[in-house]
């Protein structure tokens, strides 16, 4: 097989600068939202003492989970030796870094005391999974950067397999840690579950690949590169498998809960009478996020158009955001059960489903994080050769996959 040629994108067209400009406006809006929240206090947001993690966290956790999943393609190439994915490995590593940057930026800017980031990086409580996550996230940057270096530097190419393996294991621990942030909360019925860590792992596969596919399609189309059907359909198949896996884990989670009498009320809330949360679960997460993509992706290869893959990826992303909204915000809205078999009422909103409505500063901050990730990706593609010269059917090696 001829060695793969990589090239930077041109990045000098008006459209490229317009893209950066648009993303820049979103980033500024995000910074504005963060400034408002920091300066006035969080009362300007929809978050409250009952719902302390809101839209920023939905976006941030989506980006962080997707970041670890975006590395999958590179892992399949380096760790599992599938040559078909090798040309995609560099972009995969880049997206892992930029998505994580966007997610962490949102998380840090939402802190009540963002100015104490240094404190967060020098004072550690090692019993806290959150503290471990801080290590895992910052370490992820170093690990993926190292991995990318082994891919870029010809003399280090031989080390890309061990570096890839290390990165793969690191991101499994990282995503397990992210899921455990919720899984370790004993006092909340929607969370207290060991299933959350592996659920987050498969979510990362699905969301990360969906974003990867969209970025790849856009980057190839806008830089005039050929993206052949072989690569695209292979990625589409893989995305379908991941979406099915997520659906399976969600089903197991809810079915198990339905068996536990103590969890009946919370299942009723999510599945039946939770209002917006129920709608987002069934229409957003299940229908749009799982069933529609499965229908689009797992049909016969020859009858599937290229647009189907892109549309499916979009649906997966929308469904993923809905899933995280239900998980994070719905999980907090549901009242904590302190007094079994009693109706509870208080001035602090005990015993009732807490109200939450996303506010402009929150959504701006979250969107700003997404824009930051995409802007960094666009700039990086221009500065370094991340994209292969061609992904046409004749130029890739499908047999080894």
């Amino acid at each position: 097989m001829a060695s793969i040629q990589y090239r930077e994108i041109d990045g000098r067209s008006g459209a490229f600068y317009a893209l950066l400009g648009a993303l820049g406006i979103l980033i500024l809006a995000g910074l504005g939202g963060a400034w408002t929240m920091e300066h006035q206090g969080h009362y300007v947001t929809g978050m409250s003492n009952r719902i302390v993690w809101g839209m920023p966290h939905v976006f941030a956790i989506f980006l962080i989970v997707a970041a670890s999943g975006a590395l999958n393609v590179a892992s399949i190439a380096s760790v599992f030796g599938r040559d078909l994915y090798k040309p995609l490995a560099r972009l995969s590593g880049l997206l892992a870094l930029t998505l994580l940057t966007g997610g962490l930026a949102v998380l840090v800017l939402d802190l009540g005391r963002s100015d104490r980031l240094i404190v967060a990086m020098t004072h550690y409580n090692f019993k806290s999974i959150f503290a471990w996550n801080i290590f895992l996230y910052t370490g992820f940057f170093a690990v993926v950067a190292l991995y990318l270096w082994t891919m870029f530097e010809r003399r280090m190419n031989g080390y890309s397999k061990p570096a890839g393996l290390f990165a793969f294991l690191w991101r499994l621990v990282l995503t397990t840690g992210t899921g455990s942030i919720f899984g370790f909360l004993v006092a909340r019925e929607p969370y207290n579950s060991a299933l959350l860590a592996p659920l987050f792992i498969v979510m990362s596969f699905s969301f990360g690949l969906a974003i990867f596919v969209l970025v790849l399609m856009a980057a190839c189309r806008w830089s005039g590169r050929v993206l052949g059907d072989v690569v695209l359909s292979r990625l589409g198949n893989l995305l379908g498998v991941f979406v099915a896996t997520v659906l399976y884990f969600v089903a197991v989670y809810h079915l198990t809960n339905l068996y536990v009498a103590r969890q009946h009320e919370v299942e009723r809330f999510i599945l039946l009478d939770g209002g917006a949360y129920t709608a987002l679960f069934w229409l957003g997460q299940v229908l749009l996020g799982s069933l529609v993509p499965l229908a689009l992706l797992l049909g016969r290869v020859s009858s599937r158009s290229r647009w189907a893959v892109g549309l499916a990826a979009l649906c997966v992303i929308a469904g993923g955001l809905a899933q995280l909204y239900v998980t994070i915000i719905g999980g907090q809205a549901y009242p904590q059960l302190m007094f079994p078999d009693k109706y509870v009422a208080s001035s602090f909103f005990d015993g009732v489903v807490a109200a939450y409505a996303p506010s402009l500063p929150e959504v701006a901050l979250g969107a700003g994080g997404v824009a930051l990730a995409l802007a960094l990706t666009a700039v990086a593609l221009k500065v370094l050769p991340f994209l292969p010269h061609s992904l046409a059917d004749g130029d890739v090696n499908p047999t080894a996959a």
Binding site: V52, G112, R113, Y124, K127, F130, A131, A187, F339
Partner: protein, 241 residues
């Protein structure tokens, strides 16, 4: 036995006796108010006992806490902090109604302390669970983790703080068991107010001190924790739940 060995044994017995007695000697000292130069000690464990059968429609404890600690709020109920609140219960089947004050339970194994990334949420040696607001980054993970919803996030700029109770925007706070009063040898404001103006439902004291009223009552009368299934060994106990 030669004289040196006898002497050695004598000193050994004296030392052993001293080591055995010393903790007891410490205990007697600590029953009185701790002096400001003394650190909080693990030999004490502060606790509250609340007999909710004596709790009527009264909110004296809430008002007193608000006054003492200065968390008056801005009239925005969703985001205003509440260090203590009255919770009204009604049995789903029998309709039996009760009310109780709920605040930080000062658990022996606090989930909020486990999850805090910087260690700002911590348990002092004498059992009081506090937030070190110097290192709190305002991530609100402890608010998520608390089984009792005891923690509040400060959503707005604070001014006019009480001198003994610093509090500020962007950090998390909760009932401190009036640590500034306890360290002076007084009782929390809620307990004082309840005993003065309320139903006399609250008892404060050192759970480890066998001469304390709270210790005696817990040993001789039934009491319970909120969410005993979590095995947190709370410092706040209730009667009549």
């Amino acid at each position: 036995m030669n004289p040196e060995r006898r002497e050695f044994l004598g000193w050994g017995v004296a030392a052993a006796a001293g080591a055995a007695l010393a903790p007891g000697l410490r205990l007697i000292e600590l029953v009185q108010a701790r002096s400001p130069q003394e650190a909080a000690s693990a030999l004490q464990r502060w606790g509250l006992l609340i007999d909710i059968t004596k709790c009527a429609d009264c909110e004296v404890c809430v008002t007193a806490c608000r006054e003492e600690n200065g968390w008056t709020g801005q009239g925005r109920t969703a985001t205003d902090p509440q260090w203590i609140r009255k919770v009204n219960l009604r049995d789903k089947r029998t309709g039996y109604a009760q009310t109780l004050p709920l605040m930080c339970q000062h658990c022996e194994h606090p989930p909020c302390v486990d999850v805090c990334p910087t260690g700002a949420s911590f348990k002092r040696d004498d059992g009081i669970v506090l937030v070190d607001k110097h290192i709190c980054i305002g991530c609100r993970y402890c608010v998520m983790a608390c089984p009792y919803g005891a923690r509040s996030f400060v959503h707005e700029t604070v001014s006019g703080q009480k001198a003994d109770v610093p509090r500020g925007k962007g950090t998390v706070e909760s009932c401190t068991l009036c640590v500034h009063r306890v360290d002076r040898g007084e009782t929390p404001a809620c307990v004082e107010a309840c005993n003065r103006d309320g139903g006399k439902a609250m008892v404060f004291g050192d759970l480890n001190d066998s001469s304390a009223e709270i210790h005696h009552r817990l040993r001789t009368e039934p009491s319970s924790q909120v969410r005993p299934d979590l095995a947190l060994n709370t410092g706040v106990r209730y009667q009549g739940l």
